[in-house]
Amino acid sequence: MKSATQLSANKEMTIRSNNRLKRNVGRAIIYVVLIILALICLLPFYSMIISSTHSNFDIANKLLLLPGDQFLENYSRLVEKVPIWRGFFNSVIITISGTALTLYFSALTAYGFSKYSFKFSNFLFAAVLAMLMIPGEVSIIGFFKLMGEFNLLNTYWPLILPGIANAFGTFFLKQNCDAAVSEEILESARIDGCGELKMFHRLVIPLLAPALATFGIFAFIGQWNSFLMPVIILFDNHLQPLPVMVAMTRGKFSTDYGAQYVGILLSIIPIMIVFTMLAKKIMKGVSAGALKE
């Protein structure tokens, strides 16, 4: 009798340790899968960095795993033919001015819809929402023709000004304005004699700041990454933003792989830096707003 209970206790212990073993093996497998997937995500970038430091001969003939010493040679061949720093500078100008306009006017429009009622306001807001459903390419050729008629081709205006009418930003910020800006604050400011526009600048923008930051990151990334618009609108190579310059390296250096890798590297570094600093905020933004460009 005694030995029987002993036996079952032993059995139970082996089952339990078996279960624990099973669980640990299961977890180890999960970690291995996660790490392999993480490697797949990062390897292309690693290979790009490594390749950018080797001569064309080595890139063409060897599997390269460790950094070499040819980076500066590749770099100097690249900047000889493609004004990559000019492209970087162009990208910064277009992206910052475009994002600033988008943020300011999206907040302005959102505030107008959120806190005032006027004739046709529902209809107009429905028009904003309808634009969310319409893919951009349907307007692209008409847009190109119109910019030609305005004499705005080969300038930055067609890349920057349309940002004033950003349907997603208006929609996203209106949701936030409904929740974050209370009517009481606005009423008491009015009683103190504050003007309507001043109120927007002094009260509403600070209250919308967190939402503006979230949306701003995505507006910034979207503008930084845009390719089709600049490639259509701009003719002069030295006016092009970075992504178009990177695509140009493909045509100009069909066999100079080292220079192409350096070009790609230079265009990815700013994104890597931004992402390392803001990863948490960016990922929160994705799950909060389900933002997609």
Binding site: Y116, E137, V138, I164, I271, M283, K292
Partner: protein, 293 residues
């Protein structure tokens, strides 16, 4: 209460001025252009529905629709499955380094698409690319594979790149969806003796259905507009990676048939609209069915 005031008009006016000039007018202008011949230089000539007749009888257009669908299907199925499985794994309590994994999986999504296209075409280059070198190093293949020479393999590569670029985004969406499922539900299922697989298929997936539908709809809209990666990788494989957007781009900005290209843009627009409408209807119908909660 919202303030009844004409000030609202001032706040929303800039949006609608820009919207009318830079969005609505170009959309209508594109339609007018689609009824005419225009080579970008002279006046456009009205030709009625000639362009649409040509579009509907053009095998290249149908081929580009087919290519887009093939690439979309091959990328979306693994993309959403990987995203869902990863979201469920990373939602487990025992996982360490959750945020790091999330960040690594999501990172490819914010890198400039055209840069990814150039990088992919370099890595998959059959003579000099690291992919062939790596596979040969592992002994998986003996001779370098000329990836882009096979029409179907070229499509698979573009689809793989799309999958690689977007699974992290969808994973974040699913993780946000998982957060909204109460923990007590899992605990209750565990007490009832359900294993992980049963919890996943019987509880998690049914509850996530609306979120899954959301990712399917957004990926239809995004997938129909695949452009940058096939544009760069598309040479050498014949036309197998010529997607609808690449076809539109080449008709307009390489062959300068702006009128015909406008009819292409309306064709794409109608396809996207129809697909969104169908999936929207489908998801509504499915949501009416009981989901267990």
């Amino acid at each position: 209460m919202k303030k009844k005031s004409y000030y609202g008009y001032f706040f929303v006016a800039p949006y609608f001025i820009i919207f009318l000039i830079f969005s609505l007018y170009p959309i209508l202008n594109s339609f007018v252009l689609s009824l005419s011949h225009w080579d970008g230089l002279g006046e456009s000539v009205y030709v009625g529905f000639d362009n649409y007749a040509r579009l509907l009888s053009n095998p290249y257009f149908y081929q580009s629709i087919l290519n887009t669908f093939i690439i979309w299907i091959i990328s979306i199925v693994p993309e959403l499955i990987i995203a869902l499985v990863l979201a469920m794994i990373l939602n487990e309590k025992f996982i360490k380094g959750r945020h790091l994994f999330q960040a690594v999986f999501y990172f490819p999504n914010i890198v400039t698409p055209i840069t990814i296209g150039v990088l992919a075409s370099l890595l998959f280059d059959w003579q000099t690319g690291s992919v062939n070198k790596f596979l040969m190093g592992l002994g998986i293949i003996d001779d370098p594979v000329n990836w882009f020479a096979h029409p179907f393999i070229a499509q698979v590569i573009v689809a793989t790149v799309m999958c690689w670029q977007w699974f992290g985004f969808n994973m974040l969406i699913y993780m946000a969806g998982l957060q909204s499922i109460p923990r007590t539900l899992y605990d209750a299922a565990e007490i009832d003796g359900a294993n992980k697989f049963q919890v996943a298929t019987k509880i998690v997936i049914p509850l996530l259905k609306p979120v899954v539908m959301f990712t399917v709809i957004t990926s239809i809209i995004g997938g129909m507009q695949i452009f940058e990666v096939p544009l760069v990788t598309g040479t050498g494989s014949g036309d197998s990676t010529q997607t609808m957007m690449v076809y539109l781009y080449e008709a307009a900005f390489k062959r300068f048939q702006y009128g015909y290209a406008s009819s292409v843009s309306y064709g794409i627009f109608i396809i996207i609209l129809a697909l969104s409408f169908i999936s929207f209807k489908f998801s509504k119908k499915r949501q009416k069915a009981p989901t267990g909660l």
